[in-house]
């Protein structure tokens, strides 16, 4: 009897092993198309007969905001209606789950064809060997894109001379300031376009009133992705937190963060993105380090704050190693996966979605294509005229200040976690800025795959 039970148990153990031996293998990837055999994406229907079954293109979107979903659904429907031979299968995935979802789908033998990217993500995908270069699939679109995007040589979509992303959104980063709190402390935001670290610190000290639960800024330690203080590297002539090329500049940036801690609320140690919005809306924080998407995040809840009278858009204060103001920018767009089984069809979908008409209707932020004007953006926004002052400020700031690409780094989550934990030790005063530099260097350098370029 024991023997039989043993055989039975063996059977139960062997089946999974056999199954695991069958599954889990790397997916077969089709060879990259040669330039000569690249599909003619502008008129595909005319050259080939429609197949009996429409080809399914799996499209993963991270546009979870309502307006983003509306935009996606509209253009997916438009494509599906006009292309009976190709049907987009549109799936919504949160940014945080996108890499895991893509990896799981590829491992499971059902690879996605296209997806949204953000700066760090496209870098992680590229170095993971997951992306298909778009140059051969969409030569015409890439050619149109080149003069349009700002400083393509420093862009987040080019790796080893090839284009891996098709952007539809351009976001700027800067400081959003509460005009009422600044005015109460005797400062006019109109005079601060060229402010430096010293001026900024002076203002933060002036607006901080702990007895009134009012502070200057917040670092939001609870969500390493957005933990503040990383900006000070940029504004002191460094590329980002992974740039250890100039120790003095790095240590200065860390020391400056330390100097600002007294002007931030203690509760920030567990704050996440939503808390940073609340903090700005309810006036506990006088400024927010935010992007050009920020207005849409809070305009519904606090329209009086998010108005030309309530808030000002300012560049980051410049550090001692910078001569002029700068505005970091990045793009969000689409990528195609190397594992895609329907690359010609996926390219056709990208060509359609990246058209001027579709990108022009993107309801948030600025557009990467310079041919799309401020008036276009105002028309496209769900907030209509309410968005005009906001976009005007951003466009004006990007004219005045030097645009600085923020291509991201990989592995971003792990690096951000290391940075936040070291910043926390600085906050507690248990290490010095110099020690923090050494700890960050020791923690980040061995794992960084792709330092920002």
């Amino acid at each position: 009897m024991h023997k039989r039970v043993s055989i039975l148990l063996l059977l139960v153990m062997v089946i999974p092993v056999l199954l695991s031996a069958c599954g889990g293998a790397a997916p077969t990837v089709a060879p990259q198309p040669a330039a000569t055999s690249a599909p003619e994406t502008t008129a595909p229907e005319a050259t080939k007969a429609p197949p009996a079954q429409p080809v399914k293109v799996i499209y993963l979107s991270a546009g979870t905001a309502e307006v983003e979903q509306d935009w996606n659904e509209k253009w997916v429907k438009a494509f599906n209606d006009s292309h009976p031979n190709i049907q987009i299968q549109y799936e919504l995935v949160a940014w945080a789950d996108l890499l895991t979802k893509v990896s799981a789908m590829i491992a499971g033998g059902n690879p996605p064809d296209i997806a949204w990217y953000a700066p760090s993500m496209i870098k992680e995908w590229y170095y993971g060997g997951l992306l298909e270069p778009l140059d051969d699939w969409l030569p015409q679109d890439i050619e149109e894109l080149l003069p349009a995007i700002r400083d393509p040589s420093a862009s987040d979509i080019i790796y080893d001379g090839k284009y891996y992303g098709m952007p539809f959104c351009l976001a700027g980063l800067g400081v959003i300031a509460r005009k009422d709190i600044f005015a109460e402390a005797g400062y006019d935001t109109d005079d601060l376009m060229n402010w430096d670290w010293a001026k900024y610190k002076e203002i933060m000290a002036a607006v901080t009133k702990p007895d009134k639960n009012q502070y200057g800024l917040q670092f939001a330690f609870g969500e390493p992705r957005i933990s503040g203080g990383k900006y000070w590297f940029l504004t002191n002539g460094l590329r980002d937190v992974t740039d250890f090329s100039n120790k003095e500049a790095y240590v200065e940036a860390l020391q400056y963060s330390m100097d600002l801690f007294p002007y931030s609320p203690e509760a920030q140690l567990q704050w996440v993105h939503a808390d940073t919005l609340t903090c700005y809306m309810n006036g506990v924080c006088s400024v927010a380090f935010q992007g050009s998407y920020f207005q849409g995040d809070i305009i519904r809840q606090a329209p009086e704050v998010m108005s030309n009278e309530g808030s000002a858009v300012l560049p980051y204060p410049i550090g001692p190693r910078m001569d002029d103001c700068m505005v970091p920018w990045y793009t969000v767009g689409w990528v195609m996966f190397q594992a895609s089984r329907n690359k010609p069809e996926a390219a056709e979908v990208l060509h359609f979605l990246a058209s001027r008409e579709a990108v022009n209707e993107w309801p948030m932020n600025m557009a990467p294509k310079t041919e799309i004007t401020l008036e276009d953006r105002v028309r496209a926004s769900e907030f209509g005229e309410e968005v005009r002052w906001w976009l005007e400020d951003w466009y004006e700031m990007m004219e005045i200040c030097k645009p600085a690409a923020r291509p991201g780094y990989a592995p971003s989550n792990e690096i951000n976690q290391i940075y936040t934990e070291v910043l926390l030790e600085l906050y507690y005063g248990s290490i010095t800025a110099e020690e923090a530099y050494e700890q960050l260097k020791a923690g980040i350098e061995p794992i960084v795959i792709a330092p920002g370029q």
Partner: protein, 314 residues
């Protein structure tokens, strides 16, 4: 009917032994195997395969950022890395601390409430139902609400305590690394005490009333009756609850991740959120599999005790 009748052809007097004839006991076993085979196959597919796959990953260095095909066999390196990592000890201690304090507080509150609601009084039914509310609320919803309550800057708890004169200045319930533990344990208590209370109440309801009457006649006080009658007779329920809750609290994820993400820093990080962070945030799937395998082995001890105990009771 003899066992072998079904397996023979012809009459008993003339038949020759069949090549396929099995002795009765073996045939019974075979029938049993055939009957449970679909279940075994399902278990193999749904539990065995993922488990074996996860175990195999624990010995590989699969790192998604370096690609799906980056995994190579590295033997015990993931385990060595875990034990050599200076953050391991605090994370393990955090987990033990969270489990011990959660269990003790939940046991005490659950038992107290069970004893209270075991008594006859008007509105007892409503009270019994109301006490279950925290348990039936979705964990994520409840925890997000607790985040707002406990926020150090605009939280309702600070507002109320300062308003009542209990506090002079706000406490950073989730941001202060000396206080964050108590916040987590309070939320865990609020969320899980109903499970204890329901089970302990069920245990109380099967204790014969006569035992208390006899004790009373013998002059035993209420406290002595509780100590010598109630607690010993509740022991089987208490032991099972402690075993189950040890497993569940050790694997606690949603409450800790939603409230603090293991922070500030790693101050409130426990094993389950750590595995999640390594796997789904840092994409170090091999390393995360090794940690989860260790966690599984630790939990297996409690599972075996639980199963043995249940078998003994039956």
């Amino acid at each position: 009917m003899p066992d072998d009748v079904l397996s023979v052809q012809g009459t008993p007097g003339t038949r020759r032994p069949s090549r396929f004839r099995l002795p009765g006991r073996q045939r019974k076993v075979l029938t049993g195997i055939l009957l449970i085979l679909p279940g075994l196959v399902l278990i193999a597919l749904l539990i065995g395969y993922p488990f074996v796959f996860a175990v195999s990953l624990a010995f590989k260095d699969l790192y998604l950022v370096k690609g799906m095909d980056s995994a190579t066999w590295i033997g015990l390196d993931n385990f060595r890395k875990f034990f050599a990592d200076p953050s391991t000890k605090p994370i393990v201690l955090n987990t033990v601390r969270y489990v011990i304090f959660s269990l003790l507080t939940q046991f005490l509150v659950g038992l107290g409430l069970a004893v209270l609601l075991h008594r006859e009084f008007k509105g007892r039914g409503i009270m019994r139902a109301a006490a279950l509310i925290p348990w039936v609320m979705p964990t994520l919803v409840a925890t997000i609400v607790w985040r707002f309550i406990l926020d150090g800057s605009w939280g309702v708890l600070n507002y109320s305590l300062i308003g009542m004169g209990v506090l002079e200045k706000p406490i950073n319930w989730l941001a202060d690394r000396n206080v964050v533990w108590w916040s987590l344990i309070i939320v865990s208590l609020w969320r899980h005490f109903p499970f204890w209370y329901v089970n302990l109440l069920a245990g109380l309801q099967v204790i014969p009333e006569e035992l208390y009457e006899v004790a009373k006649i013998d002059g035993a006080s209420a406290l002595k009756s509780f100590w010598y009658i109630t607690l010993p007779l509740l022991r089987p329920v208490i032991v099972v609850l402690f075993l189950l809750e040890t497993i569940w609290r050790s694997n606690e994820f949603t409450t800790i991740w939603t409230l603090t993400k293991g922070g500030p820093g790693k101050a409130s990080m426990t094993m389950a959120p750590y595995v999640y962070q390594q796997s789904f945030s840092f994409y170090r799937v091999g390393y995360a599999s090794a940690i989860s395998l260790l966690l599984t082995m630790a939990m297996l001890v409690f599972t075996v005790i639980y199963i043995r105990r249940t078998q003994l009771e039956h």
